[in-house]
């Protein structure tokens, strides 16, 4: 109760100068920091969809603000603080690079509730959340292994952070279950978003014989290149079927709406706690787009793999996991520990690439 009073008081203070009615002050003000433009069709777009779903669900109980195109790093601190100072009591910062700035602002404003996506640092008033995207990558690997005629996959990678590396590893592990000799060519483009460069990378991969393209960058450009070349591809972050009706096999869809709604409800009820949330296919934070452009047996295999991951009978990083050097990776349990996946900085056997900077 006290928390609600505080929230209301802070909100009231913040909007005292404006013409809002008294009832408006009861609203929970929720702020979002976005990396790209809301129209990027990828990462930021999906967070925006999540925000809209939350607003739809909670109606006039919440009032939301978002700041888009906020650069990662120290500069984002001002934007986060701006939200904190303007009466927002629940703030989602939606990219890895906002981690330290969020932590700094969280320490300064202990009464405000922060949520940081895809990071690993937290505080009593700062929780973290992320999706187990590698689960989806594993399914894509299985599909790619079946669908690639040449046995060569093309992978457009952004930055060598654990999430991207674990995605590459999960893909090849999935592909190896159906084609032990599968090869993956990796191109690092050093950007999350540059349609031209992503397209160039897709062309380079196709020119060098890859016949299934997968990407860990945000624009639909690689999908379009694959469509032009008559090869297959996977979408990223959102359903990109529109850009490749005869090309997209499936896509990993980030589904933040239920989580944002749940956390806002908790904040409204005063039961919000800083937690480390890491949800996957089971909790529907990661959702697969319809399986398309593949024969029925591959479709069935993909669905079976998805069901097994949801049921917990299949783990993409089931021990033993063999490293690139041929030696098994240290294992404490039946599968790699969450920490090993969240901090992954090694390739598994079969990846024909070197991690940049290693």
């Amino acid at each position: 109760m006290r928390k609600i009073m505080m929230t209301a008081a802070v909100a009231a203070l913040a909007i005292a100068a404006t013409s809002y009615s008294a009832s408006a002050a009861e609203k929970l003000k929720v702020g979002f920091i976005y990396l790209g433009p809301v129209g990027d069709l990828g990462w930021t777009y999906r967070h925006e969809v999540g925000r809209q779903e939350m607003v739809k669900e909670l109606g006039d109980k919440v009032e939301t603000t978002f700041l888009e195109n906020v650069s990662e790093g120290p500069d984002s601190e001002r934007s986060i603080e701006q939200l904190a100072r303007s009466g927002h009591t629940l703030i989602f910062t939606t990219s890895f690079g906002y981690m330290d700035p969020t932590l700094k602002v969280a320490k300064k404003y202990p009464k405000i509730q922060f949520e940081h996506a895809t990071g690993f640092k937290s505080a009593p008033n700062m929780g973290t959340y992320s999706g187990k995207f590698y689960e989806g990558r594993y399914i894509q690997g299985v599909i790619a292994g079946k669908m690639s005629k040449k046995g060569v996959l093309g992978y457009i990678a952004s930055f060598p952070i654990p999430e991207v590396i674990s995605g590459i590893n999960a893909t090849i592990l999935g592909a190896q279950t159906v084609n032990p000799d599968i090869k993956v060519k990796v191109i690092w483009v050093n950007t999350w978003f540059d349609p031209g460069k992503e397209a160039d990378a897709a062309k380079a991969l196709a020119d060098q014989g890859a016949d299934v393209i997968m990407q860990h960058t945000d624009s639909p450009a690689p999908m379009q290149v694959a469509a032009q070349r008559g090869i297959l591809a996977f979408g990223q972050d959102s359903d990109m079927i529109k850009f490749g009706p005869k090309t997209q096999l499936t896509s990993i869809i980030d589904n933040w709406g239920p989580y944002y709604t749940r956390q806002a409800k908790a904040a409204l009820a005063g039961t919000w706690k800083a937690e480390d949330t890491w949800d996957g296919l089971k909790e529907k934070m990661v959702v697969m787009a319809p399986y398309t452009n593949m024969p029925d047996d591959v479709k069935a295999l993909a669905a079976k793999t998805e069901a097994a991951i949801i049921a917990g009978t299949l783990h993409p990083f089931k021990c033993p996991v063999i490293g690139q050097d041929g030696k098994p990776v240290e294992c404490k349990g039946a599968n790699l520990e969450p920490g090993q996946i969240l901090g992954m900085n090694f390739y598994v056997k079969g990846v024909d690439d070197k991690i940049p900077g290693k």
């Binding site: 069709l41 349609p195 460069k197 397209a199 160039d200 020119d207 060098q208 890859a210 639909p220 529109k242």
Partner: protein, 306 residues
């Protein structure tokens, strides 16, 4: 299609937006105006070019929309720097911020839409030449135009009286003014030309390169175009070489990675900028002998005495 041919095709496509934008900026700078707003004008050209092509179904009209958008934005810059003698660096940076924001607003309704990309225009007989035929004569209209544009600029700057006057304005606006040339009017045309070229370079992206519009899709190409002008030491023919070199570095590093050559990709991504810095150093070391055509009054504000 062989791998080599495919690489060359990609290189030319990657270089074309840089060449178009840089060619326009070169003319503006030769008249003495430093417009750092290339990125903003390009993204405006991309948004309006896509809008034009989407609404009319014509790549050509889209390209004209792009040119108009870039020129319109450069008019804002001209009004500030030529009309009100505002600092060119500050105005140029502001122009980029304005362009990025405005293009997002204009393009918002077009995000997620698709168009048919500009077709490759095959030239009878020439395209059929083995190996080089497809590379040189199997391109879209933008590519042919970009090369013709630079040739035209070279001819204008070095073979016409008007070009001589434009260069004179860039080298010493006071002398040109004393001789009775309308410095501000000449610069206005140069800035508008630069804006139109940047708009066309931006429009190339959604019309031919990646046929959709997304805010921020120029992704820093305007800055590379600016670096390219310096790299070419303000000479149009060197600009062509520079643009294709920058494009080649981008494409070859992607292929090198796919081949698994183990060249650090971060280093390769930084190459265009590194090369520009080296050229700048060379220019200042060998002043007069390196053949730099840096305009002497570049970036300086000119207020005519009345």
């Amino acid at each position: 299609m062989g791998l080599l041919e495919a690489i060359f095709l990609s290189v030319i496509a990657a270089s074309t937006p840089l060449l178009l934008a840089a060619a326009g900026e070169l003319v503006a700078e030769r008249s003495g105006v430093l417009n750092l707003g290339v990125e903003g004008m390009m993204i405006m050209g991309a948004a309006c070019g896509f809008a034009g092509a989407y609404l009319t179904g014509s790549t050509l009209i889209g390209a004209l929309f792009g040119i108009a958008a870039g020129a319109a934005l450069s008019l804002v810059f001209a009004a500030l720097t030529l009309g009100m003698a505002v600092n060119q660096v500050a105005a140029g940076l502001a122009l980029t911020i304005l362009g990025v924001g405005l293009s997002g607003l204009i393009g918002a309704g077009f995000v997620g839409e698709k168009i048919v990309p500009a077709p490759a225009l095959y030239i009878p007989f020439l395209t059929g030449i083995p190996i080089v035929g497809r590379i040189l004569f199997g391109q879209d209209g933008f590519v042919y135009f970009s090369v013709a544009l630079v040739a035209g600029i070279w001819w204008f700057l070095y073979r016409t009286r008007a070009g001589l006057i434009l260069r004179a304005v860039g080298d010493s606006h006071t002398s040109a003014h004393a001789l009775g040339y309308p410095v501000l009017k000449i610069r206005l045309f140069a800035v508008l030309f630069g804006g139109g070229c940047a708009g066309l370079g931006g429009a190339f992206l959604p019309l031919a390169y990646t046929p959709f519009f997304i805010p921020g899709m120029t992704a820093g190409r305007g800055w590379i175009a600016l670096a390219l002008v310096v790299f070419s030491s303000w000479r149009p023919l060197r600009l062509v070489g520079g643009a294709y070199l920058f494009g080649a570095v981008t494409i070859l590093q992607l292929h090198a990675q796919a081949f698994g050559l183990g060249i650090p990709s971060q280093l390769m991504s930084a190459m265009p900028y590194l090369a520009t810095v080296i050229v700048l150093v060379l220019i200042s070391r060998a002043r007069g002998t390196a053949g730099s055509a840096a305009p002497a009054s570049l970036g300086m504000v000119f207020v005519p005495d009345r």
